[in-house]
Subunit: 363 residues, 2 copies
């Protein structure tokens, strides 16, 4: 496998030239793979061809070794079955963000389901369409492969690695539960919270700080795509939303009778469960260490922030995360630096000595 | 008012030397105001005195012009009443994060409530205690003042301006509704969502991206403080949580019967309401413009990010927001730049020309 790990397939056919299909085409073409493209929409196909993501298939072309199905989720299973039929020697993989329903539909409809490898690149929340395609879209992103060990899965794993992604093996059911938890439920929670802002006064919104912005940021996502995703993964999402609602009911009851015995215990347990849940999110290098945050006052210009980061870089300080915060109406901003807990005090004194103003610290 | 706007009070007494009291003491002392301090805890008081936030009150001291009550929320009303009684010539203001219950308690218990001005500096989520006190804690932060126009309110407004904050006038009830919406409900939503991560597999957590991190970030806040805040503002919070629960119930019903007529309409309306709610959050200079996001691949080092920001600064590009994103296990990160929509395409080509890799774009 190592020998061919830079390009485990010589000929790849991609069906669906949206963001993922076009990006895969660009990346594979750059790596010397012969890529052909297809899309139901002639204009989307033309765009992907123009960008150099691959060539149109012509009648004399040899069959591909691999077909990547990158259509919208609701037609993936049907397209996969068609491709398995059409290319009897090819592996077929999809890249949809739900897996169990597609795997089930393909197994039920095709006698060639053994050549189908369900996958899902966690390539973020980017804007769709060929126009947004990038050959480095998958760089450093986890890419889930729902297949047992075996020759086919190994080849797909090598392909994923050759595109710069990090292969992760799980079952379709594990995948769907995982994305319900880490992506689909948070999306709905953000949308439900942001929806409350529709009726808010300008004055109330003017008080909003970084916390509200964080919680509601992904509520900006495209509703049309999310309807398909949520509909295709409704079971795990509903299950988790019901657990969330039960917890929410407890909080509402506790707050409605806030002077009753036990109500503050419910609040304490809810808030502590949140602290312990968020602490499980891995740090940037996969470690579950704990971090602290240092808030530095900066003039509201990229130059000033660059100066701050240059200084941190010179000192060899490793940033875990960085946020900009602005106060409406002010020309001053805050850089919220997340650092490993054991360096935060040293960094704070170094920054003060260098003349920076520290507006706060959070542990 | 202008003449004395840099220091509208000559003698200020501060009761409670936690983060807010100590910070106010440091800031006022720096501005030449004579500050005295008191705290129930001798060690907390000693620390604030050591930091130079003010002096201990001694028997011969003249009465203050202003008393700032900065105790924990649950004792503010009682302390305010005591100070109104003790200093008949002084204004008394508090800085607690809930207002109506305190205002009501003071009005009911004191005949001097006319000298009480309820206020709330939106000074963020910083760690408490005198040890975290900073004279510039209030710089560029909104500071709510719950008082009609009048001499007393004007003096407090001038004080707030002298500390670098942005005064915002609203009623206690408007304030409490506003903070329930922009702070207390998002806090609970983040905690409830993060609580779900407690039982998640390491593998599922390894797929987490920036979205989940955003939604759950404030779940790290201190439970002890939040129990007090939520308990003191339970009515508006419960009211808004009930509306949120009604929306959540619709989503659960829609997903549980996702193939039924009308269920996708419910999902579409929920997601669209989220898009429209989040679009109402003001941009950094108070404008409700719309932004787009550009995701740039960077080596995982502060130096590389500094180089990127230096370049943006040189081009005069104004960042609305900036996020760092990391993939677990990878040495590559993503800088998620939020820019005004009308410059994003130009910036993208400039960055590409300068050799940066663009991993995506979101509108």
């Amino acid at each position: 496998m190592n020998a061919k790990s830079s390009a485990p397939f010589a000929r790849v056919h991609i069906v669906g030239t949206g963001l993922l299909g076009t990006s895969a085409g660009l990346a594979l073409s750059e790596r010397g793979v012969s890529v052909t493209l297809a899309d139901q929409s002639p204009s989307s196909l033309a765009l992907a061809l123009d960008y150099g993501a691959g060539a149109r298939r012509t009648p004399g072309d040899p069959d591909p070794d691999l077909v990547i199905v990158a259509t919208p989720p609701d037609v993936v299973a049907e397209v996969v079955c068609g491709q398995l039929e059409m290319f009897p020697g090819a592996l077929v993989m999809d890249v949809a963000s739900v897996k169990l329903s597609i795997q089930g539909a393909v197994s039920a409809a095709s006698t060639h389901a053994g050549r189908f490898i369900p996958t899902h690149p966690m390539a973020g929340r980017e804007r769709g369409g060929a126009v947004s395609g990038r050959s480095d879209l998958f760089t450093a992103r986890p890419w889930v492969i729902c297949a047992e060990a075996g020759q086919e899965a190994d080849a797909v794993r090598a392909l994923v690695v050759s595109l710069g992604a990090i292969p992760v093996t799980m079952t379709a059911s594990e995948h769907d539960d995982a994305v319900a938890l880490i992506s689909h439920v948070p999306q709905l929670v953000a949308s439900l919270t942001a929806a409350r802002l529709q009726g808010a006064s300008e004055q109330a919104l003017g008080l909003a700080g970084g916390g509200l912005r964080d919680v509601t940021r992904i509520a900006q996502s495209d509703p049309a795509l999310w309807i398909q995703i949520l509909a295709a993964n409704s079971e795990p999402v509903v299950e988790q939303l019901r657990e969330l609602r039960a917890d929410l009911d407890h909080v509402i009851d506790a707050l409605a009778g806030v002077e009753s015995v036990g109500s503050k215990k419910v609040l304490a347990e809810t808030l502590s469960a949140g602290v312990s849940g968020v602490s499980r999110l891995p740090g940037k290098h996969g470690a579950s260490t704990t971090f602290a945050s240092l808030i530095v006052v900066i003039d509201d210009s990229p130059g000033e922030l660059a100066r701050l980061l240059t200084q941190l870089g010179d000192w060899g300080v490793n940033l875990e995360d960085l946020r900009l915060e602005h106060s409406p109406g002010a020309q001053v901003g805050f850089a919220d630096l997340t650092l490993a807990k054991d360096v935060v005090d040293d960094v704070e004194s170094q920054l003060r000595d260098a003349g920076w103003r520290i507006a706060g610290e959070r542990s």
